[in-house]
Point group: C2
């Protein structure tokens, strides 16, 4: 199957999946995307924890943890790549009502992303997306398979733009299409609350823990766009990218000096962010 | 593949679909469900029109109409059943951004539903769902594959309940999990607007056209729950069910006399609603 190095369905190599899967028909499943770097799966335990928590939130009973860990071990033999682990609610009957809480497990290993560490050093440009995230507290924070808003928000970026920042129905910034959002103002680290929309990324959680341990004050909460634009520093986080500083959002530029962002890049030590010290 | 009489992927019989389909990973696709009755596909032209309109709304270029019609002809040989026709955006690369607007076509023929015409005669009981539909005007009305809200709302109905009525974030009733909602007050037919959430069903459109042609006044608009509960008659519509009168929502019962509902059942002449005249 083009585009993937390996695909496994419940532990068996496959190219295809059952056409009646509820994952396809309803998006009735959850997933996490992991970075495989030099044979090691970055933050594997935290990723599996979140995958299981998300599955539980939808009433999906995950396979035993050891089976999921075995899937990641099978993927690790590829050395470097992007690993997507999905849990889809089992059952092939037509109709929204679940017939079981059991799950099928789909593992996909993709080749490594071509993107180097330039984005981590120089930062990226983002736009403010015209797509507004709908508020659905029952699904907020969960990395589920209903991702049409992200698809719509990923179309038609101008040249030179790497991400789009999405806001909610209250006009507050929430996240990027595939990354969480942070900003720094007067030394305090801010990130939006994710109780009405957005996905709670593992790297976001790790950064909040690292910042707290390093005595960087953290505030989680929804704030207006003006707060994001008034920030001294702003950045995106994700499992594949680590930390991407924001150089600009639309016409608004951020300062090139990013002391807190660089400190967090050092603490996170993400493979994509590990750059020569003199480049920082 | 258990549960289906036939599955076709781009016109070829299959049991499985590509594991990298954007339909699975993002719900990046649309579908319609048709009733196949005695070798005839009910409202096939209208269903294909809506399928193509929904695809266009997501920027998905549908296959030529003749190809889709050929799929329905292939399904019709099963005589009776439930036919689901899906268009999934093609492309197997990882990432939300679409790489093409081309579509893959998936056709599934399921056995006929066991449900007889009793629901059309006697009506059904519904509950008010604890799930609130999120407002997303960009996706409202479209029958896309992001259906987790319907899955959540379909769990845990009490015994004897056949549907759940969902409201929006303004506290206004919108639809049922798999049907549109109508009510009648002083001879006027009401149905909620679907510009913020909900799915615009083909049977809903047909009923509005039939009612207008029969000089039944129709009003499309959002109204509070109190308007639904104050109605003289209320019913659900869907391609598979035709018209299901609502006998009760939670503890609130509707009158057994349903002159407008019965008139519309006669005009729609849906196979599931065609019942002996003396039973009406």
């Amino acid at each position: 199957m083009s585009g993937a190095l390996a695909i496994r369905w419940n532990g068996q190599p496959v190219a295809q999946i059952p056409a009646l899967s509820r994952g396809l028909h309803y998006g009735d499943g959850v997933f996490r995307t992991l970075l495989l770097h030099d044979g090691a799966m970055v933050a594997a335990d935290a990723q599996l924890d979140r995958l299981l928590a998300d599955a539980a939130a939808l009433g999906i009973a995950a396979p035993p943890l050891a089976r999921l860990q075995a899937e990641l071990v099978a993927a690790a033999c590829f050395g470097n790549g992007t690993v997507k682990l999905l849990l889809l609610r089992a059952g092939e009957r037509r109709g929204y009502r679940p017939e079981t809480d059991a799950a099928d497990c789909l593992l996909i290993v993709y080749p490594p992303s071509a993107r180097g560490s330039a984005a981590a050093i120089e930062g990226i440009k983002a736009i403010r997306s015209p797509v507004t995230l709908a508020a659905q507290p029952l699904l907020a924070g969960i990395k589920h398979l209903n991702r049409l808003e992200q698809v719509l928000a990923s179309r038609d970026w101008p040249a030179g733009v790497d991400e789009a920042i999405l806001g909610d129905d209250r006009g507050q910034p929430v996240c990027a299409t595939r990354a969480n959002l942070f900003w720094v103002r007067h030394g305090v680290l801010h990130t939006p609350a994710l109780d009405r929309c957005g996905v709670a990324g593992v790297t976001r959680s790790r950064l909040l823990a690292l910042a707290a341990a390093a005595d960087i004050e953290c505030r989680i909460g929804s704030q207006p766009w003006s707060a994001l634009l008034a920030a001294d520093e702003a950045f995106l986080s994700g499992s594949l990218i680590g930390i991407w500083p924001l150089r600009a959002i639309d016409g608004h530029c951020y300062e090139a000096a990013r002391p807190v962002t660089r400190r967090l890049q050092g603490l996170l030590a993400h493979p994509s962010d590990v750059v020569p010290l003199n480049a920082r």
